[in-house]
């Protein structure tokens, strides 16, 4: 196994651990604000669901539970591969980490493909956000359901894409043997972010696809 490249911690920290602790806390703070960012969408969802339950029930019948469940399985598996990548990086096994990250990337790509299939399916049936809606529904408020569906899954998908960019960056650094027990911070931080993206979907799936 090639020797891990030595990492020099920033001058204002006392040690590698000091830097790692600070960086990790920074990521937890970032995830805090992500929770609040998504909370706006969750509030909109629950408010309109409370007001127009019939519309929500009608809307969800247009969503494919098998595709949604598939995406859920894909993301959960990607969390596994990401967790294994972090563990590998922690032990200095850069090659292994790189391959787990590649697996995560492929799964993330798969998620996006399924999403694209769902979206194009909707568009071909004339289902768009409310302002562009072409399809007729029996409940006049059902277009609102789809607006919220597109916003929630769309914003989530943007986060998936962002995560994919970060994972590519990590793969590159793994192939340069940059990580080891002293320094694996970037892998840890991207890992936290990625699990959070999975976490959001864990709620989106039942809320959007399984409402009864």
């Amino acid at each position: 196994m090639a020797k891990t490249v030595e990492h020099h911690h920033a001058h204002h920290f006392d040690s590698h651990d000091h830097e790692f602790d600070a960086s990790k806390q920074g990521m937890w703070l970032f995830l805090l604000q992500e929770v609040l960012f998504f909370s706006g969408l969750f509030v909109a969802y629950f408010i309109f669901r409370g007001l127009y339950l019939e519309a929500w029930i009608e809307g969800h019948t247009y969503l494919s539970i098998p595709l949604g469940a598939l995406n859920t399985a894909i993301l959960i598996l990607s969390s596994l591969t990401m967790a294994l990548a972090v563990s590998a990086a922690q032990m200095g096994e850069n090659r292994k980490a790189a391959w787990y990250l590649i697996g995560t990337l492929i799964l993330a790509g798969g998620f996006c493909v399924v999403k694209a299939i769902e979206y194009t399916g909707k568009f071909s049936h004339g289902i768009f956000p409310a302002g562009m809606m072409e399809h007729e529904f029996s409940n006049p408020k059902t277009p609102l359901f789809f607006s919220i569906y597109f916003m929630m899954t769309g914003v989530h998908a943007i986060h998936v894409l962002g995560g994919m960019v970060a994972i590519v960056w990590l793969i590159r650094r793994c192939f340069r043997n940059e990580f080891g027990s002293n320094y694996y911070t970037p892998v840890e931080l991207v890992g936290l972010y990625w699990h959070f993206v999975d976490l959001v979907w864990i709620y989106l799936f039942p809320m959007l696809y399984l409402t009864t």
């Binding site: 600070a22 706006g40 408010i47 956000p129 409310a130």
Partner: protein, 530 residues
């Protein structure tokens, strides 16, 4: 790497690139200073134009009501998002906070630089609307008008979205810095109150700003594709937009005031030569305000169509914020009692703050009370109230901090005589501008109106004249401060004889803030009257 004689952060490296790509929190603070002052000037120009239009009834200098709508929108948007919200944290917080902690920098210097560039990118994007069709929705962007208006609202919505991340990253940076980079001996109980204030502000920033982000995002998509959740034509609720908007914008006003209060907590003990009264109470009250800030946003919506029950709840909760605020005001006054008071410029601004902020805060009670708010809402009473707390509060606090830390930041001293002249112009001008607006509002003059009934003419004339005094005061301040930078006398490292850590190093500070290691053995306010 020890600093050579005369080596400080300003001359440590030279060249434009060393500034544009700097990771030094002190240089980033200065870049923010010049950017924010530029936007302050721009926002101020629009204010003066608005007041010129309102000088007399009827048409004055503006072409029509639409242009008036644009001008007050620009004034509000620029002042809120580009000036007052970032002002104290980005400039004084960035410069002073790490030094008060005995640290060499903030936790994430590269993130800090990114914060600055996000601020600039967002501000320029928002300002680019000025070059096109402009925006006429008011800084509050209420739907459905903001969905329908054909003006350049998208630029401002997206510009504010980007600027929001600047604030979020700064907040993240400060929290981790305070948690992880305190020097030896600096326990939480020995933190200067400016640090406590910055801490609470940062927490509010990271909790509230993302909700603004999603609101702006959804509003933009409402305009682009039609979403419907805020648009009654598609089955949505415009009042829901107001909930989303004010969930951020009310805590935002505490982002504006808490750091300024932190400055007051620093200045008063130093210039009274007395320990701060009620250190723990002030720190606790700061956090109390930060928490209550999130429970009261509906008081901006009393007549919007919000339910009666919600109106009652929000009015009740709003009353509570007066308690921790009062604790702080009384503690500051008690600090001065039997102190050896020196009326240097920072103290003059702190005293002005106490007077003006108290008026602003008390008039908040008139607005919090449901029955009186029905009459006062959307009148000039509200305009006067928020200018008293935001200008009189945040801006005067900033001026106190700027004059307090000026010698530390630049190693030069300004002319005290000139500073006092500017202070008089600003303090008197401010009250002449805004006090009449309380009266105008309670007599029924609506806000955001291009014109008004003849009975309001006299006080409007008075208010406009006041605006000229404030402008003169700030312009003069720019003059004497610039003069101090260029040719002012050299300042000592601790001209105010203050006990906090930033004063225990040279002025200007060296690149890494301190020579050698720093250790703290006592609290920051151990002053004892002679």
């Amino acid at each position: 790497m020890s600093a050579g004689h005369g080596d400080n952060y300003l001359n440590h490296t030279t060249g434009l690139k060393s500034w544009l790509f700097t990771l030094d929190h002190k240089r980033i603070a200065l870049m923010y200073l010049f950017s924010i002052l530029f936007f302050f000037l721009l926002g101020g120009v629009f204010a003066v134009l608005v007041r010129l239009e309102l000088m007399q009834p009827g048409h004055q200098i503006l072409q029509n009501a639409d242009q008036y709508n644009r001008f007050f929108t620009y004034h509000g948007t620029i002042m809120v998002f580009m000036v007052v919200i970032p002002m104290v944290p980005a400039i004084l917080g960035n410069f002073v906070l790490p030094m008060m902690l005995g640290a060499k920098d903030v936790a994430f210097p590269r993130l800090n630089l990114a914060s600055y560039y996000l601020y600039m990118a967002g501000a320029l994007l928002a300002a680019s609307a000025l070059l096109g069709k402009g925006v006429d929705t008011g800084w509050t962007f209420y739907t459905p008008y903001s969905i329908r208006t054909s003006t350049g609202a998208n630029f401002v919505l997206m510009g504010a979205f980007i600027m929001g991340f600047s604030g979020i990253f700064t907040g993240m940076n400060f929290i981790v810095t305070i948690h992880k980079l305190r020097c030896k001996g600096l326990t939480f109980g020995r933190l200067p109150l400016f640090v406590w204030a910055s801490y609470a502000t940062s927490i509010v920033q990271i909790l509230a700003t993302p909700v603004l982000a999603i609101t702006l995002f959804l509003a933009t998509f409402e305009r682009l594709t039609g979403i419907g959740i805020f648009d009654p034509n598609l089955g949505g609720d415009p009042i829901l937009f107001q909930h989303f908007f004010w969930f951020y914008s009310h805590p935002a006003v505490y982002i504006m005031i808490l750091p300024a209060m932190g400055i007051i907590s620093e200045v008063i003990p130093v210039f009274s030569r007395k320990p701060i009264f009620g250190y723990k109470a002030i720190a606790a009250a700061t956090f109390g305000i930060a928490v209550v800030a999130f429970l009261v946003w509906g008081h901006h919506m009393f007549v919007s169509g919000q339910s009666n029950f919600a109106n009652f709840i929000f009015s009740l909760l709003t009353m509570f914020v007066a308690v921790p605020t009062g604790v702080k005001v009384f503690s500051w006054v008690a600090t001065m009692y039997k102190g050896d008071i020196r009326f240097d410029t920072p103290m003059l601004y702190a005293l002005a703050f106490l007077f003006v902020f108290t008026i602003g805060g008390m008039t908040g009670m008139h607005l919090a009370t449901l029955a009186t708010d029905i009459h006062l809402t959307d009148t000039y009473f509200v305009v006067a109230h928020f200018h008293y707390v935001m200008v009189g509060g945040s801006l005067f606090g900033f001026m106190a901090g700027l004059h307090y830390w000026f010698p530390k930041m630049f190693g030069k001293m300004y002319s005290e005589g000139s500073a006092r002249v500017a202070w008089i112009l600003i303090f008197v001008g401010f009250n002449v501008t805004f006090f009449p607006q309380f009266i105008l509002g309670s007599q029924g003059m609506p806000r955001r109106y291009f014109d008004y009934l003849p009975e309001f003419a006299t006080l409007n004339m008075v208010s406009t004249i006041g605006s000229w005094f404030i402008s003169a005061g700030f312009l003069f301040a720019a003059v004497y401060l610039t003069r101090a930078l260029i040719s002012g006398p050299k300042a000592e490292s601790n001209p105010w004889d203050s006990k906090t850590l930033e004063w225990q190093t040279s002025s200007p500070p060296p690149h890494e803030n301190f020579e050698g290691d720093v250790e703290v053995t006592e609290g920051p306010y151990e002053y004892h009257p002679a």
